[in-house]
């Protein structure tokens, strides 16, 4: 008696279509991912169970850590406009090239007097130069308040909304340092602001 033949089917599938789709998606995600500017100030943000996402438009982010304050303005047009206003205020003339370079800068923490020099450096030089002393925020030389005020004006003029102020503080930073910054904000009648935290698992 002849044995019943079991037909063997090939198990290999044509992967071409799948490969096409996956690379299409991959390209999409790579292109939409925004290149993150390296943070000059190393902050470890505390975690919380809040779920509210930060909008990424019309925002100013204050990084607080090691007693220093850095400021980041979101949006190229806002940055350039803020720089113009700051230049006027402190009578520093910024060239179009410097404006353009400032437009793509991330967080910065230099006094406005050495900003010109800071802008023209490459990012490697910036980290090496040790110019990142933080933005002066004393009562006699309150450049931070000026930056915030000018960027708020810029947002109001260009996008006709109000700017959100977010604080990104280091977990181990002492409260008085944070309070000093919050007081500066409150002087400008910003009584509502966001604290940036990282996600934490749901509390039991």
């Amino acid at each position: 008696m002849p044995r019943a033949k079991v037909q063997r089917k090939s198990t290999s599938i044509d992967m071409t279509a799948m490969c096409d789709v996956s690379f299409l998606l991959l390209t999409f995600f790579i292109l939409t991912a925004t290149a993150r500017q390296p943070d000059p100030l190393d902050v470890i943000i505390p975690s919380s169970t809040y779920k509210l996402k930060v909008p990424d438009l019309d925002m100013g982010i204050l990084s607080i850590g090691k007693g220093k304050v850095f400021y980041e303005i979101v949006g190229k047009d806002i940055k350039m406009s803020t720089l113009d206003k700051m230049g006027e205020k402190y009578s520093i003339k910024f060239t179009p090239e410097e404006r353009e370079r400032f437009g793509v800068i991330g967080a910065f923490g230099v006094p406005v007097q050495s900003l010109k020099q800071f802008i023209m450096m490459s990012s490697d030089e910036r980290t090496k130069s040790k110019m990142d002393t933080g933005i002066p925020a004393d009562s006699t030389n309150n450049q931070l308040a000026e930056w915030i005020l000018q960027s708020r004006t810029a947002v109001a003029e260009l996008h006709s909304t109000s700017m959100r102020v977010s604080i990104k503080g280091d977990g181990q930073e002492e409260y008085p340092t944070v309070k000093k910054i919050v007081d500066i904000l409150q002087k400008q009648k910003i009584n509502k602001f966001s604290l940036i935290t990282s996600a934490e698992g749901d509390a039991k």
Binding site: M15, C19, F29, Y175, K179, A199
Partner: protein, 178 residues
């Protein structure tokens, strides 16, 4: 393909077939890699968005006379001290001794007090006053705001870092957390 037959005749009558190389490549590994990268990029783009906690502080220049009196019996004050310790008391300062606790126990205390206030006043919400002192770190402040969110305190907490009374300071010094 284009090859010269150099075999010199060979068997006659049989067609000389050019060998066809198999053009199929195994794409499995490539697909694997692509999906791995897709997953990575998907997760990093959506997860890297920071999360914000909205804080509202009382207006300093508010000169209006419309201020609501708080009932002392419904108020819980939490003082943030150093070494990740907090001190809390119900009611007015100086009248009740504050309890010193760590951050792991404060949630239970908040829930207890919330329940007590709700029971004694017939469903009224507890009022929280948060007083961060100079010894507290930024993390402590975020943590306590987070605890309030977890315990579902819906009334806006009063964040008061200006008016820390002497009685409170003395107590905190006594407990070694200022």
């Amino acid at each position: 393909m284009a090859e010269l037959d150099t075999s010199g005749g060979g068997k006659k009558g049989k067609k000389v077939r050019s060998k066809k190389a198999n053009t199929k490549v195994d794409l499995t590994a490539m697909v694997d890699l692509a999906f791995l990268l897709i997953t990575f990029f998907m997760l990093t783009t959506s997860l890297s968005k920071p999360i914000a906690m909205d804080i509202a502080k009382p207006d300093k220049d508010d000169k209006s006379q419309e201020k609501n009196e708080l009932r002392a019996s419904e108020t819980m004050t939490i003082l943030l001290g150093k070494n990740n310790k907090v001190a809390w008391y119900m009611g007015e300062a100086g009248k009740s001794t504050p309890n010193v606790e760590g951050f792991s126990d404060i949630r239970k205390s908040i829930l207890d007090n919330k329940k007590k206030v709700s029971e004694t006043t017939g469903g009224r919400q507890i009022i929280m006053v948060i007083k961060p002192t100079s010894g507290a770190t930024y993390k402590n402040f975020v943590d306590i705001m987070d605890e309030l969110a977890i315990t579902k305190i819906t009334t806006a907490p009063a964040i008061d870092d200006e008016n820390i009374t002497d009685a409170e300071k003395d107590f905190m010094k006594g407990a070694g957390i200022l």
